[in-house]
Amino acid sequence: MTFFLEQLIIGLSSGGIYAIMALALVVIYKSTGHVNLAQGELAVFSTFIAWTLVQMGVPIWPAILLTMIVSFIGAVILERVVIRPFDEADDLVIVAVFVGLFLGIHSLAGAIWNYEVKPFPSAFSDGSVQIVSDLSIRAHTLGSLLTTCVVLAATWFFFRYTRLGLALRASADNHESSRLVGINVSFMLALGWGLAAAIGAIAGVMIAPVTFLDPSMGLAPLIFALAGALLGGITSPFGAALGGLIVGVLEAMISAYVPYGIEFRELIALLLILSVLLVKPAGLFGELVTRRV
C-alpha cells in the first residue's frame, strides 16, 4: 500500500508540472488558436534566465518574479516579430514556424548556457513532510502542487470572469468581429503569448530543482503536457490541468507496475494523444472548435 501511495505522490508531483505547462498551452490556444510546440523550450529558456539571476545573488522568489516579467516581455516581442506575420497562414506553415522556433530557442539556450547539467534551487524549503510511518512527501512537491492549483485558479478565473479574458477568447475566435467590437486584436495576441510564457516559466522553475537544469529538460515534459492538455481539453484550463495530473499519475503507475513500462512511457503518451484525438477530439472537458469551410 505504501508503495502505491508513493507512486501516486510521484505521479501527482510530475503531473502537477505537466498541468502547469498544459495551462500555458491552453492560454496560447485560447488566445491565438495555435498549439505552441515550442512551449517547452520557452519554459527552459525562462528557467535559465532565473538560474542566471540566482547565480548573480538574487533570492529565489524575486528571481522567479523577475523571470516571469522578462519572459512575458520576451514572448510579446517574439509573437510580434516571428509569429504575427504568419497569423492567418495555413496549418503547415504555422507548424513549420513553430518547429523553427523550437530549434532556434533550444540552440540559443545551449549556446548561451552550454549543455552541462546545473542544479537549481527549489522555491520551497528543502525538507520533507512525514505523512505516515514510511511515507513522506517533499516540501517541494507540496509547494509545486499548490502552485499548480493557484495557477489553475488564476487562469480559469481570468478566462471566465474577466473582461480581458473574454476579449482574448473573442479575438482568437474571430479577428474581424472582435475588431468591430473594439477589441485590439493585435494586443490580445501578444498578451496571450506573454501570459503563456510567464506560466511556462513557473513550470520550468518547478521542474528544474527535481531534474536539474539543462537545455534538453523541456522535451519530455512537453510531450506529456501536450497529452494532458489534449486529454483534458485544450480549451479548458480545468480540463487541461486535470489532464496533466492524470497523465502524470498514469505515467508513474505504468512505470511501476507494467513490465517494460518505463521504456514505453513516451509511447503511451503518444497512444493517449492519438486515442483522445480520435475518440473525443475536444478532450474530456473541452469544446469542439468548428472550422468554417
Binding site: H34, V35, V93, V97, L103, L226, Y260, E266
Partner: protein
C-alpha cells in the same frame, strides 16, 4: 517573386507544360540528369560517393514526405520513425537472413508500408495541427522503443546492428562504395519516376483537391479517405526505402542514429527544398540537411539546429516555395517562361 504572405507555400500547383516541344526537352533533361547520376559512380570517390548516397537516400524519403505534406497538405513531424523502421528492416534482413543488400530496400518498403497502414489508419482521421502533434509524439517515442529490451533480440538493442555489405562481384570492377552508390541511384531514379507519374496523374489532382477543399472534392467524387491514405502510404514507403539505403551506406544502425531530431530534419528538408516541387525540392532539401551542418561548423560549432530553425522560418516568410522555388524564379528570369 511572390512573397510568402500573399501566396502561402502549399497553394502552389505544379502544372506540367503540355506543349510537345516542352515535353521533349523536359524528357531530355531528365534523361541527361539520370545519366549524370549514374555516371558519378565512376567519377566520384569514396567519401564523396558516401555523401551522395546519403543525400539521395534522404531525397527518396523527402520525395515521399513531400507528397504527403506538399501535395496532400498533411503534416508529419514523425517520419523519422518510418526511416528507422526501414533501416532496421534492412539491417535485420542482412543480419538474420543473410539477404543481399540490394534487395533489402524492397523488404524495408513492404515492412514500412505495413507499419504505415497500421499507424496511418487512426492517424489519418486527424487534421492539421493534431496530426502534427501525434506524429511529434511518435518521433519522440521512437528512440526509446528502439532501445527496448523487448525487441533487442532482433534490433541488437542499445548496441545496434552491423550491416555486412558485400560489394558487387569482381567482374563489375566496382568497389564497395560504388556498389552501394549505384544501388542507391537505381532506387532513386525509380522513385523519381514513380513520384513524377503519381503527382502529375490523377492521384496528384486528387491529392491537391483534397488538400485545398476536402468537402468540394468529395462533392466532385474524389474519395478523400483513399487519397489521404495513398499519400500517407507512399510517404511511408519512400521513407522506409530511404532509411534502408542510408543504413546500407553507413553499414550500421543503432538507436542513437534515429533521434527525434531526424524527424525534424526530414521535415526541414521538405520545407526548405520546396513544398510542391516533387523532385528538385527533395534533392535540394536533402543536400541542405546533409551539407549545411558541415558548413555551419566552420562558423559556429554545434549550431546546426539553430540554422535549421532560422532557415525554416525564413523560407516560410520569404520564399515558401523553398530552394526549388528560387531555382524556378531564376529560370523565370532567365528564360522568361513559367514552369516548375
Amino acid at each position: 517573386m511572390t512573397t510568402g504572405l500573399n501566396e502561402p507555400a502549399n497553394r502552389v500547383h505544379e502544372m506540367p507544360d503540355f506543349r510537345p516541344s516542352a515535353r521533349f526537352w523536359a524528357r531530355l533533361g531528365y534523361g541527361a540528369a539520370a545519366i549524370l547520376f549514374l555516371a558519378a559512380t565512376g567519377t566520384l570517390q569514396g567519401y564523396e560517393l558516401f555523401l551522395a548516397s546519403s543525400i539521395l537516400s534522404y531525397a527518396i524519403a523527402a520525395m515521399g514526405l513531400n507528397v504527403l505534406m506538399g501535395y496532400n497538405g498533411q503534416i508529419s513531424l514523425g517520419h523519422g520513425a518510418f526511416f528507422a523502421i526501414g533501416a532496421y528492416s534492412a539491417a535485420i534482413c542482412i543480419d538474420q537472413f543473410g539477404m543481399s543488400f540490394a534487395f533489402t530496400p524492397i523488404v524495408a518498403g513492404i515492412v514500412g508500408m505495413a507499419a504505415g497502414w497500421i499507424i496511418g489508419k487512426p492517424a489519418l482521421r486527424l487534421e492539421g495541427v493534431y496530426l502534427a502533434l501525434a506524429t511529434f509524439g511518435l518521433a519522440i517515442a521512437t528512440p526509446t522503443i528502439l532501445r527496448s529490451d523487448l525487441f533487442a533480440q532482433w534490433t541488437g538493442g542499445v548496441q545496434g546492428l552491423f550491416l555486412l555489405i558485400n560489394p558487387a562481384p569482381k567482374w563489375t570492377g566496382l568497389d564497395l562504395d560504388q556498389s552501394i552508390y549505384l544501388t542507391v541511384v537505381v532506387y532513386f531514379l525509380a522513385f523519381a519516376y514513380v513520384t513524377l507519374r503519381l503527382v502529375r496523374g490523377l492521384n496528384g489532382y486528387a491529392w491537391l483537391a483534397t488538400r485545398d477543399n476536402p468537402i468540394a472534392a468529395r462533392a466532385m467524387g474524389f474519395d478523400v479517405t483513399k487519397a489521404k491514405t495513398r499519400a500517407f502510404v507512399y510517404s511511408v514507403l519512400a521513407c522506409s526505402v530511404g532509411g534502408a539505403l542510408q543504413a546500407v551506406a553507413v553499414q550500421f544502425v543503432a538507436p542513437d542514429s534515429f533521434p527525434f531530431f531526424l524527424s525534424i530534419s526530414l521535415f526541414t528538408a521538405v520545407v526548405v527544398g520546396g513544398l510542391c516541387s516533387p523532385l528538385l525540392g527533395p534533392i535540394l532539401g536533402s543536400a541542405f540537411i546533409v551539407l549545411v551542418p558541415n558548413v555551419t561548423e566552420e562558423v559556429w560549432q554545434g549550431g546546426s539546429w539553430a540554422v535549421y530553425g532560422a532557415v525554416v522560418i525564413l523560407v516560410m516568410a520569404i520564399q515558401p516555395k523553398g530552394l526549388a522555388g528560387m531555382f524556378a524564379w531564376l529560370k523565370f528570369k532567365v528564360a522568361g517562361q513559367s514552369g516548375s
